[in-house]
Symmetry: D2
Subunit: 318 residues, 4 copies
């Protein structure tokens, strides 16, 4: 098993949308991302404090859902070892050119069929003059437009077999489970994994429909809980659909807001406060059915669509 931190962090994610223009409008006007270019059917967008070139690659497609999730290796040697581990697991697809600004990317799938990519080489983002930040320790000027999220935070996949997927990320990539849902029959219905000291970078939750390869949501980090309250106000004002929140998860204690972008993908705005996972001998926190029956941290019942809505929706599954 590779060491924790062999993966440096979650890189950019490709999202598919059947309504590309409306989705671009959502990401730029509501979330406050900056459009930096396009290629083919894809538009590149970035959050203001992500140091690489791309945060989201938004691709026109027949359905919504996640395309490739990219992960940056901690170094060239780490990349080599990780690729070897994936090949040994028989899940490799092969090397491809990276997206603009990114080096060679090794493509593979998790057991559920979600596409992932591993890379190390990455050009840092160099802002155009009008996007130069005032402080030199920031990637880009904050546009102060809409919710103006700081950076990509995590991705939450749906998985038919949570354990198989979670084990794969732990065994081949060095992920560590920080929290999990353990049902009364002993099976794992949700698994939160970290590659870093963040509370989590990737999540698998059980797909009740049994459809492989679906996405539950991607999440962006805001600096404060107030930013998320404000984002809810702006969603209301701009007609963005709020699924649930703002509220606080019991699991991971994340303060959250879930909205749908026009293409149908669920988007979370998330704030972890000052909570980090520092213990090298962290013991996964297990949440039982009885725990879950209490609802979210402050008692909000988990909304039903949370258990059913995934992208691509079942009816559109390829």
């Amino acid at each position: 098993m590779p060491p924790l931190h062999a993966i440096a962090h979650l890189g950019h994610v490709e999202l598919r949308t059947p309504v590309l223009d409306e989705s671009v409008e959502f990401f730029t006007r509501y979330l406050g991302l900056t459009e930096t270019g396009s290629a083919g059917d894809s538009v590149f967008l970035r959050a203001w404090d992500d140091y690489e070139n791309i945060t989201i690659k938004l691709t026109g497609h027949a359905t919504s859902g996640a395309g490739r999730t990219n992960l940056r290796a901690a170094g060239p040697e780490a990349l080599e070892r990780l690729v070897a581990a994936i090949e040994a697991a028989g899940r490799g697809i092969g090397w491809q050119d990276g997206d603009p600004g990114y080096g060679p990317t090794y493509v593979f799938t998790d057991p559920d069929g979600h596409e992932l990519g591993l890379y190390y080489e990455s050009e840092w983002y160099a802002p155009a003059p009008e996007l130069e930040p005032a402080l030199k320790n920031q990637a880009q000027a904050n546009p102060a437009r809409g919710a103006s999220v700081r950076r990509l935070d995590h991705i939450n996949y749906l998985g038919v077999d949570v354990t198989a997927n979670s084990d794969f990320l732990c065994d081949t990539l060095g992920g560590m489970v920080t929290e999990q849902i353990v049902l009364d029959d002993g099976s794992i219905a949700g698994s939160w994994l970290t590659f870093t000291n963040k509370t989590y970078d990737a999540v698998y939750t059980r797909d009740r429909t049994g459809t492989p390869g679906r996405l539950h949501h991607i999440a962006f980090a805001t600096d404060t809980r107030e930013d998320i309250l404000r984002a809810a106000d702006i969603a209301l004002e701009q007609g963005v659909f709020i699924e649930t929140g703002p509220h606080k998860h019991a699991i991971q204690q994340t303060f959250f807001l879930y909205v749908y972008e026009p293409g149908g993908n669920r988007i979370e705005l998330a704030n972890a406060g000052a909570r980090v996972i520092l213990a090298p001998d962290w013991r996964p926190v297990s949440w039982t059915e009885a725990d879950r029956a209490k609802g979210q941290a402050w008692g909000l019942k988990t909304i039903e669509s949370f258990h059913t809505h995934g992208t691509p929706p079942v009816e559109h599954a390829p």
Copy 2:
């Protein structure tokens, strides 16, 4: 050079105070820490979400200042390698028994003479029934008393030779410089280091008095910037001396408040927002004298005592 993450995190810090009772009162009533025991001239205190037993070991002493800073290694092998590196550097003192709840600790000094300790074995904190948290992913109930800080965040030493000290932590312990102050003569006047993905865990800033071994401050993390505004209100109400803030550092963009505890030690309350250091090829951000002349992020001039007040004060230096 050991890899980044060989040190898991900053552990508990010993602070000295000539007025032990008043200092305990400050840490419990103002900061909201919980007293968990005592031994000899020392009182043990903990912040509500630190998972280990001790956050601060407060020791009665002729002067203020820092006693030992403890660092937890990422594992038993990491501990061995780190100790070997320190011994090779000729800075080791030797193994000692750890504080209650902690295993054997290897004691050493940095070039400035600050005492540090390395350990791996650590019992997790088990709260008494009345301190059981409502959520199982939290170390202890939040007492909701005073500023109620979440966890220890970082330590800032004064150092006669910043470069020598900073290099020592990088070379022997695997620290990474994330930001630094570079004077016009090319010398380094401040160095912010991380062992994790946090923006920083330890800092050296130049001691203008040329006195070795002094402490600038220790810092506690709060979940929000509002927590820090509230902490300023409470400081005013409780007669706690506010040195400067609340305001936002340009360096690291930390939102801060600096107060003095009754023993004379400077205490920071700090919030980094959602800022983390994820890039494995992070390039230290260098702040010049011209940058510094602009003041803090929003223009506040750095208060003069920030450059002069350290503990133990010069007149009390051992």
Copy 3:
């Protein structure tokens, strides 16, 4: 009709509780009120920035529910005119001695039978030395204990006939309706009234059980929305029952949290932001059933108990 501002503000409210000691514990430990004395079966409590002596008079009783709601007149002449108006309306009971620190109080009832009192004379609160505030424009030191609410904000009665009660307060006391719920049959199911420039001071919402004289809730103001998120965290930690929230009302845009104190009374923590009602020709905002079907501001469905739980509970009604 008396002019707006004939009533200066909502004064102290009497709350009844079958478990006096537990209720006192809730108000002091959770809400952060200060106990200032007692008389007979009543305990006096105050929020830290209420300028008069009493915020809540908590009285041991067979049931929960509201005792007298006190209103301070804008002056001696205003008091006289208001009393004359009440007498003319045939709802007066007569003059009684005020609570400790308050002058003669004219007692009366609204059409639903809630007891109210009018007074002008009031001694200002003089804090004991240990409760002296740091800033001289504040009534008392903020204890920084629990939710630490700033002041009483409003009272929300249940009423069998909302219109009759609301009209009574407007016609005899100079209230102004700022917002209301208008059902499809044209009847008024909720009426929010102000005596000041606050968005509201008193509310009547329809009692679906047809029981007169019940209380929906009383509310305390906090300075920020963050204070309310924090109060939810503390409620969870202290085992205080959260009924609903934190969330934002569509009506009045109040950010809210509803909890139950141990005696069964519903308590709101409320924040209006910078919203005030300044227009002298304000037109009541009417919310229709279609509007209400959208839920609260961010879509949260109004919790069912909100329509059923009132105090005293139906089964205990005297």
Copy 4:
């Protein structure tokens, strides 16, 4: 003396600027106001929750400074009585047509020569479809652009004789002094007045240069303190000059940020929390020189330019 509340509230303020286009850019891009029209050399701007048509009338001029400050009377009769009081005081100029959307306005000056206007008739703002708010109790959609301030809050004049000006507003308009600065020689160096239950609507502070008719600043209200921290971040990013703050005034406990708009006028962003002035027998809080020597609430020294910078600047005074 007219009763408190004869003035309903501070209406729109005219600001002069030698750089009209840059000033418009500041008010729309940084503060988030909406441009609604223009007439002659003036551009009309509004904050999103002001219910009338205009918040700021920005007029091209040789200098910066305040043009007319408009005040809305509580009703037609109140208007008549107020005008009679002004005429009796010999400070009237006469009736003029109001700005677009406003009825006849009675123009007069305070003893310092600041121009004011009284009116009652006012059309409420009717938003264009693209500016329709999501909630019907809000004047206009929140544009979520820049600092996005909610409404105009107060105006702070410089005055050669604070007492004469303050007395004039109390005696003729029904203002009430809520707080004041009393120097050791007994003279009043600052006077905070309210016409409502807000903590203050107008302020006079002593003009140390002895120049009559100057403006210290106008202020906009934000819903939270976090909004003001965010506004400071945006000012830094957009190159808006920050004079001082964010910090908390001891006087009135207002959380503040002061910036300069490009024309040279000082603009405050202000948050009062839940603090309101409800006592009809409020006793002005007096701040002494000794109090003032402590600095702002958390100890920040009052910035020197606060005592010298007024508009129009001395060198440009007409």
